[in-house]
Symmetry: C2
Subunit: 409 residues, 2 copies
């Protein structure tokens, strides 16, 4: 039995001490309908940590947030969609200005603000809409406003990503909540663009950082939509400590429980990010077992769900086994092809299409029925050990091409 | 001035000593209109070499061809489309049977036959259509039949790839010719599926092998259509020696001239493979200069032309600079972002979209006019040295998704 449970309608404002909100600032001048500027605030300074994109080309928001988190303390997040503030000559100043504006409105220090942006790269971020809106943004924040902040960071996402889990640490109920955006430019290595996590647990900044890395490793780092790693990916966490648990300052039992809950939540988010990938009609989960170790299983799971040909076959509900074997073959992992079994599974059943590395004749109608579903497991057994991994992807569709064929206009 | 020239309407039968042909064998039972079985034959045994896919999952045709080329001698090629003969329990026997059938018809030894297949993976190769057709196949071969062999290896290719170049070695005119197929499952590392090259130059098997590697490194190994490396990629060469030049048995001046001509031809093929990528509407060439070394330039050129987001932007004629910088950033190469310039160029002109790592405002109408063309150069200067490289890709289109959404049926 797990020590945590998901909370219905949970969000970044579920943990004690946090408020959040979002407004229509008009970062893109023609946007008059969607919230595009969001804020999260805690009534007290929080222990905080973040992990970022591994892309060498980074938004200046990342450098500013890194600087602000050096002391392991933050009290607010300001984030916008509509412009990534990346590859701009004045990006660093603009990111600092965003923090200063938020800090002034909130009456806190600018270096206690986490800043993030998402949207078009290489176009100057207009600061005026943010200046004009920051008062309203502050006033928009409420104890159930996480959902508006979630909307504010969406780009081509079609559904908001919000969640909260609860667990007990030393007799105290602890809540962790989060919002995230994804959709395109999503790939292994913090394939997330933006995710903000709050908790009322007492956890040191160092242990928060460590927990983020552990949980992201099997969740955010196993998602791919299109193979493109963004310049802006930011996964930040703030812990208010208001739950009153004994502060987690080392990798003890409470830490393990905290990481377990965080990991479960991140895996759920990873699935949502993949399922809502740009143009996606279905979630495709690569489930690898029987690998000689976990790292081999990961490499193969990722290779399969990243294959354009596998992704297009999933869109066409085509139970192709050759493309799966092919993607295993070029993954770089050492495998014995003659031991590989491959099945497809969905709510409609399961069908074996490859046994011992050889394609099987199978019932095409049954296969179609299985693959027409909106969540597909590609089950790969390498017959070579106990290593396991899951990776989360989606199908490649006409709409992916349409969305990205002319994104800026 | 180059030492070689391309021959109009050249093919694999342009060099002295070679005949080729192709027939409709019906490898796929419903195929009654397209040649799907091809043959190339030389009047005398040839020095021969080949290089193959780096995918760990390989068609058995590759193991059979490797075995047959151990002695560096071959006299014929038999190749089919419609079925890859990969991941089949009896694949090795079937590939051997194909060679035996060809050898019987031609009156040569089976181990002097190169065999290759392309098409669906994981379905049993029907040998009967080949048995029935091999006589007609032999009879179909003529001195200008290279074009029929080229047709026989096409899958989703929309145009035949044939070429020939001529050069002079020690006063003798030498011809090199080739056919190739590509289209999908095309990626860096022999992203070619099948290519057969003939020459009447006298070149030892060892030097042929070395020349293939050198020429492929900057051509076939720089092409990507969809990031998927096939199980069947084979690039084979046979040299009849009928041109009467002094046999090339070491890396001398004649070897350099031979490699120069071969490289020029392979680069032309690489462009054709990319331009005719599945669903592609345009050829996209990543041209990197100013890299600290050639290997850095290659890594970046490949990363850019492989990016799904860049490919979709090219389809939409969208002069996006953020996606280029992003793909450079996640390539893994060490770069100084603040030195990077990016331009787009086509027959309609050139436009700078990024200077010193920062996005520029530019004339959108002019950019559209440039990008609407069918051949686009993405010109990247890293401002950091003298390393240069080119990589060849194509746009990502609705038709790629359509072609691969239901390929088997």
């Amino acid at each position: 039995m797990s020590n945590y449970k998901f909370i219905e309608n949970g969000s970044v404002t579920s943990p004690r001490g946090f408020v959040a909100g979002g407004v229509i600032a008009g970062i893109k001048p023609n946007n008059t309908t969607k919230r595009d500027l969001g804020m999260i605030f805690c009534e007290k300074p929080c222990a905080a940590a973040a992990i970022f994109t591994k892309n060498r080309v980074k938004s200046d928001t990342i450098y500013v947030t890194q600087e602000h988190l050096k002391n392991g303390v933050a009290q607010a997040v300001i984030a916008n969609s509509g412009n990534a503030n990346a590859c701009n000559p004045d990006g660093y100043e603009k990111a600092e200005q965003m923090c200063a504006l938020a800090a002034d409105a909130l009456g806190i220090a600018a270096d206690d603000v986490i800043v993030a942006s998402t949207g078009v790269i290489g176009q100057a971020l207009p600061i005026e809409p943010i200046e004009k809106s920051v008062g309203a943004l502050k006033d928009s924040m409420t104890r159930d406003g996480g959902t508006y902040a979630a909307e504010a960071i969406m780009t081509t996402d079609t559904i908001k990503k919000e969640w909260a889990v609860q667990l007990t640490l030393g007799g105290k109920t602890v809540t962790i909540g989060g919002i995230a955006k994804g959709s395109g430019m999503i790939h292994i290595n913090m394939g997330t663009t933006l995710s903000f996590v709050t908790t009322d647990a007492a956890v040191s900044a160092e242990m928060l950082h460590s927990a983020l890395i552990e949980a992201a490793d099997v969740s955010y780092n196993m998602v791919s939509v299109d193979g493109d790693t963004s310049t802006n990916d930011t996964l930040a966490i703030m812990a208010s400590g208001l739950a009153g648990n004994d502060e987690i300052t080392e990798k003890n039992g409470d830490y393990a429980l905290f990481v377990e809950a965080l990991t479960a939540a991140f895996k759920a988010v990873a699935k949502k990010l993949a399922a809502d990938g740009e143009g996606a009609t279905k979630l495709v989960i690569g489930k690898v077992s029987g690998a000689k170790d976990e790292s081999t299983a990961k490499v193969i799971a990722k290779s399969v769900i990243c294959s354009s040909l596998v992704k297009a076959a999933m869109f066409g509900a085509d139970a192709n086994c050759g493309r799966i074997l092919c993607a295993i073959g070029y993954s770089g992992a050492e495998v014995d092809v003659k031991k590989i079994d491959v099945s497809y599974r969905s709510a409609k059943g399961e069908i074996l299409v490859c046994k011992d590395g050889m394609g099987l004749a199978f019932d095409e109608d049954k296969a179609k029925e299985i693959l027409i579903e909106s969540e597909i497991d590609i089950i790969i057994n390498l017959g070579d050990g106990n290593g396991e991994a899951e990776a989360y992807g989606c199908d490649l569709t006409y709409d992916y091409v349409k969305i990205n064929g002319d994104y800026r206009t």
